[in-house]
């Protein structure tokens, strides 16, 4: 990972198709946060989807045009950010692999180059922009679920926690068995719905044990899964994306932690 602390002015945002469509507050919060830190954010309108769902379900050929689009769209930008560990993981670990599997070496090389400039939000903040205190205020009891792809594919480590610890007013409580998968897994949640639900039940048990009012993570997809379960149980715990917490400031909508449209 290259460190170019300080001289980043323009950052291209990959909103991800899921957040663009269902959780627009997440990319909005990403824009708010980065602009507050003094950076110009651009949203290349030609973007759509990283293709992860297709790749992970076995439909690699159908993912090829999506990969090509991602590469074409973001190739002109020096620094790209996405508020999703799994999308950035797919871009970094799958795009070139799929291109090669379909004998497109040129696309594979370009994909590798763009992937090397694509950062998950906590990576961008800590490694590239060199900030941990982003000036956020969030007076709520919060627990953090690391999400598998952030944790294992991207190895973001404690970066999100370092960012959260610097948020003023926050009551950050550790999540038991945090590194265990929540059971989402993309189409796994539908193809193996019973097993997915069993995993979700254990994750919710851990979240509820913390007595937190908010469960946060760096991925809208896992949060949709955990949040969908908590909502069904009327558990009274919200899921809020890391970007939304980091974007929050004193006086700006502090009344309710319900930043996710649900």
């Amino acid at each position: 990972m290259h460190s170019i602390v300080g001289d980043v002015t323009r950052i291209a945002l990959f909103a991800t198709c899921l957040a663009d469509t269902l959780f627009p507050d997440v990319p909005r919060a990403t824009v708010t946060l980065l602009e507050r830190l003094g950076h110009e954010v651009v949203f290349p309108a030609e973007q759509t989807c990283c293709g992860q769902m297709h790749i992970n379900t076995g439909y690699q050929r159908a993912a090829l045009p999506l990969i090509r689009r991602y590469v074409d769209t973001f190739e002109p930008y020096e620094v790209i950010v996405a508020p999703s560990g799994s999308c950035v993981g797919s871009i970094g670990h799958q795009h070139a692999m799929v291109a090669r599997r379909h004998d497109d070496e040129e696309l594979a090389r370009r994909a590798e180059a763009v992937a090397a400039r694509t950062y998950e939000l906590s990576q961008l903040l800590t490694d590239v922009l060199g900030v941990e205190d982003v000036g956020a205020h969030y007076p709520h009891r919060v627990t953090y679920h690391p999400t598998c792809h952030s944790l294992r594919l991207l190895a973001v480590g404690d970066r999100p926690l370092r960012l959260l610890r610097r948020v003023s007013g926050i009551d950050l409580v550790p999540l038991p068995d945090a590194d265990v998968c929540c059971g989402f897994g993309g189409t796994f949640a539908v193809k193996n719905a019973d097993t997915s639900t069993a995993m979700l039940a254990d994750k919710m048990r851990s979240v509820l044990a913390t007595r937190a009012e908010v469960c946060t993570a760096g991925d809208s997809s896992c949060l949709m899964h955990i949040g969908g379960g908590l909502s069904r149980l009327r558990a009274g715990v919200k899921t809020v994306h890391l970007a939304e917490i980091l974007a929050s400031t004193a006086g700006a909508g502090q009344g309710a932690p319900a930043a996710v449209s649900r």
Binding site: F43, T48, C49, T57, R152, V190, D194
Partner: protein
Amino acid sequence: MTTFLGLPGRPGRPGSRQSPSEPPHAPRGVGHLRAADPFPVAARRALADAQLRRNLSKATTTIRAKRAAVVSELPDWEELRAAGEAIKAATMADLDRYLGQLEVAVTARGGTVHWARDAIEAGNIVTALVQAAGATEVVKVKSLATDEIGLNDALAAAGIAAYETDLAELIVQLGHDRPSHILVPAIHRNRSEIRDIFLREMGDVSPDLTDDPAALAEAARQHLRRKFLSATVGISGANFGVAETGTLCVVESEGNGRMCVTLPQTLITVMGIEKVIPSWADLGVFLQLLPRSSTGERMNPYTSMWTGVTPGDGPQSVHLVLLDNGRTAALADPVGRAALHCIRCSACLNVCPVYERTGGHAYGSVYPGPIGAVLSPQLTGIEDNASLPYASSLCGACYDVCPVKINIPELLVHLRARHVEEARRTHRLPSAEAITMAAASYLLADPGRLAAAQSASRSGRLLGRRGKITALPPPLAAWTRARDAPVPPPQTFRQWWHSQHGDDRGGPAPGDRSDRSDRSDQ
């Protein structure tokens, strides 16, 4: 490498979908590699078994902690893993040569090498060897390869009784059960269940037997002692076969294996062809990796090694059956072949959140868990185990612990792609899923089409009340059985961005103006 040394080509068996030029898969109707039910169906049954859930959770939690503790002791663990991976990859690249070397070395030391194309041939070879030794009973060391090929069934059909001597394997055999873990076959049983099995099935056990582990082990010891002393044929698998010396190696904890490979006059070892390693020095790497990864011990109690026949000491008739049974087919896939690197430590099972909740039987194969999900479909052909590559959330915990660094999530994704591609070639009509995926790809390949679809999806707001959707139509109905779904918001991010920046690319969908006005405070 697509042809396999020593096994002359033969037309595919009836029922096989393969062309004669492709390496054969493990045959149907014999052995234990195929499930009766697809994974989701079998998993649903297992998930409802509270006793099983409790037994598995307790056992895997304990072993995970033990493994983590002993692995953290070694400062060069990552280097050892890299060495293990490199040795395995190099061996697979030259497998025919190392197997030839192994055959020459074993033969030179007085052993006999047999080549078995598949489960049926292996069963016939072993049966004939036992009959030639004049035996009607054999003692067995726990062996996945012999279970894979259903050897006990083949022997029983010839009137030969096979006695499992590993404690957990004995529990499974006495319980008329199937193994559910590659290291601890009876992991799904707790000790009071085991006591009940012993009381019911062991003719010679005291009715006062308690469920104290020491008492259970002693009962098994007494039960097996007579078999060890009377059996004239021992049957084992092998953890490793060293090509340069012809040495076979079995790693175990209880000492029953040591008895089986030393007491009988005849010793027959069934070894998968992928178990060959080039040299003694390589064995040093794996004997450091295996015990810490599997039982969480620094070293396992018994490591038995033998090289052909030692005159006047131990078995005087020593046989090695080299088993293919679909391995060459796996080897033919340059990505998938990494599954053959597995040293059967079971660490991936113990950390897998799916395995921990469903148990081994749900996978329907002697190889369950993450490694089973990538190995079984390659041995049988993907079509025969098509649900297994999807039996994972791709969380990656297995890859983190694998002592030979098999990237199981990547293999799963690869096998899913092979499954979809093979289905496309062989089925004339695309599945509903294939149509959905094609439609999604079409919409997502263009921002204009995506924006139009996003507008349409907001009709989903009609499904939702108070900000959530509690029932979705198929194929997403499975989602809302246990979870609410988010209601599409009045405005997508793309539309909000446009409203702020006036960028006409990706443009607003009709009707978002009013949506925007009620969010003007943001």
